[in-house]
């Protein structure tokens, strides 16, 4: 199982904590430590940290950087004209298919930091680099950048204590020093629905940052299992499961990050047509009465298969199953009653507009 798999700088830390390791995006990653449900609840009630060092970080720099990126991503980068701001967006190909979803941070004059999915690092790097003019510098910073997500109602208080100052405001990034010594970038972003920060540091400092955070008893180490249940409770899509290159952002429920009025970008003409006509199929949330919906399970309407489950899990907060699935737009109205075939049983599922969980430290 470990052949050909990479390890993050925190690999030894995970083993020392007794983590169960699994392969993910070419890395050996912790899926859980104490248990998915315990970790999930820790993030919702206190705080948790996640090793996401495997994710990709790219730096784009140059006079033409803004204009070039504006043509590559779907969202309007004028939203981050102000230094330190960040925006969530997708990046499409000429057919309107989603190559990846990512966050773009305005980190400096003429400079942007992009954080992207680990599974798409190579594709993203090749695509972005190929679509930048020669004068714009592209650097894949992933190997020398560590990333630890620190999320939960206690996270902001603790990071303030560790840095001696308030972290940046929501969807902003700023430099800081942890414990007076470790230089980091703190991004007030996350994938859990809780407040908190994503901490960027030098790869060599990642173990020190991790250990420093774990010195707080309020903080639990959390794995990919809890990361998935947390994001699905919020309805946050996962590239590779909820969308991929064969799917456009309109169908995927991501119209809100597609700015057709900003001007042309790769795929914009196709997306404009889809938006105009309305997508045939849409990604919807489903609340399940019993059992755990899982990827690939058939979704039925009046006994006829109309789709399959994209993401599915047991929600530790709600204590029942939740899922996403692409179904015909005509059935996408919240409240529509469908069914999911869970192995030998058929259970009822109701179309639900995410988030499934609304009371979090971010919504407070």
């Amino acid at each position: 199982m470990t052949e050909g798999l990479s390890r993050t700088p925190l690999y030894e830390e995970h083993l020392a904590l007794g983590a169960r390791m699994v392969p993910f995006a070419g890395f050996e990653m912790p899926v859980q430590y104490a248990g998915i449900i315990d970790e999930h609840r820790a993030v919702r009630s206190s705080a948790g940290i996640f090793d996401v060092c495997h994710m990709a970080e790219f730096r784009v720099f140059g006079f033409e950087a803004f204009d070039a990126l504006q043509r590559i991503v779907s969202n309007d980068l004028h939203k981050i004209d102000e230094m330190g701001k960040a925006v969530y967006t997708v990046m499409c190909d000429e057919t309107g298919g989603i190559i990846d979803d990512l966050i773009v941070y305005h980190t400096g004059d003429l400079e942007y930091l992009i954080i992207a999915n680990a599974s798409n690092r190579a594709v993203d790097a090749a695509w972005i680099a190929a679509h930048l003019p020669e004068e714009v510098e592209f650097v894949d910073e992933s190997d020398r950048t560590g990333l630890i997500a620190f999320q939960g109602p206690e996270a902001v208080r603790i990071i303030t204590e560790l840095t001696g100052e308030e972290p940046p405001a929501r969807f902003r990034i700023a430099e800081a020093r942890l414990d007076g010594s470790i230089p980091v970038l703190l991004a007030r972003t996350g994938y859990t629905g809780e407040d908190g920060v994503e901490i960027l540091c030098a790869t060599s400092d990642a173990p020190a940052v991790w250990k420093l955070l774990l010195s707080y008893p309020e903080i639990a180490p959390c794995g990919l299992g809890a990361r998935d249940t947390l994001r699905l409770e919020m309805g946050y899509p996962l590239h590779g499961t909820d969308m991929d290159r064969s799917i456009d952002p309109i169908s995927a429920g991501l119209s809100w990050v597609v700015s057709l009025k900003k001007g042309e970008f790769i795929g914009s003409d196709v997306l404009a047509k889809i938006k105009e006509a309305g997508p045939e199929r849409r990604l919807v949330g489903l609340t399940v009465s019993e059992g755990v919906p899982r990827h690939g399970y058939p979704v039925l309407h009046e006994g006829v298969e109309v789709g399959t489950v994209a993401s599915g899990t047991f929600s530790p907060t709600l204590e029942h199953g939740i899922a996403t699935a692409y179904i015909p737009s005509a059935l996408a109205e919240p409240g529509t009653c469908l069914e999911i075939v869970v192995r030998r049983k058929t259970v009822s599922a109701v179309v639900t507009r995410p988030p499934f969980v609304t009371a979090t430290s971010l919504s407070a």
Binding site: V31, I37, E290, V292, F314, P316
Partner: protein, 127 residues
């Protein structure tokens, strides 16, 4: 660690025999491998089980496992508490986490089950 008065099978289930009634559950090793149990799908009272065949399913967030009958018999009782508290399978796999009680149809089948020591060796070799 694994109670000495119980018998075990290769599917990581335990059996407690009292006369011709057997109580069945999954072992501590099994619950640890599975993670926090969220649902258990069990048969109904009166159902017939055949040794080696599946009689239900047990699910955690990340996985689903089938339950294999260690012995043949008729279901006498099922643990209704597991509907609301499936996590007792994790916290007390040999006690409150019991799953079904059976009336044995063939006590001879007990011979092929393992003792606690044999089961411990079996687990050590598997892991």
């Amino acid at each position: 660690m694994n109670p000495a008065d119980l018998r075990y099978d290769k599917e990581h289930e335990w059996v407690r025999v009292e006369g011709d009634t057997a109580t069945i559950g999954i072992s501590d090793f099994a619950q640890d491998q599975l993670g926090e149990v969220v649902y258990v799908d069990l048969p109904s009272v009166g159902d017939e089980l055949a040794a080696g065949e599946t009689f239900g399913e047990i699910e955690s967030v990340k996985s689903v496992s089938e339950l294999f009958a260690p012995l043949s018999g008729t279901i006498l009782e099922i643990n209704d508490e597991l509907g609301t508290s499936p996590e007792s399978i994790n916290s007390d796999p040999y006690g409150a986490g019991w799953m079904v009680k059976l009336t044995l149809s063939d006590a001879g089948q007990l011979e092929s089950l393992m003792s606690a020591d044999e089961y411990e060796s079996f687990v050590a070799n598997e892991a």
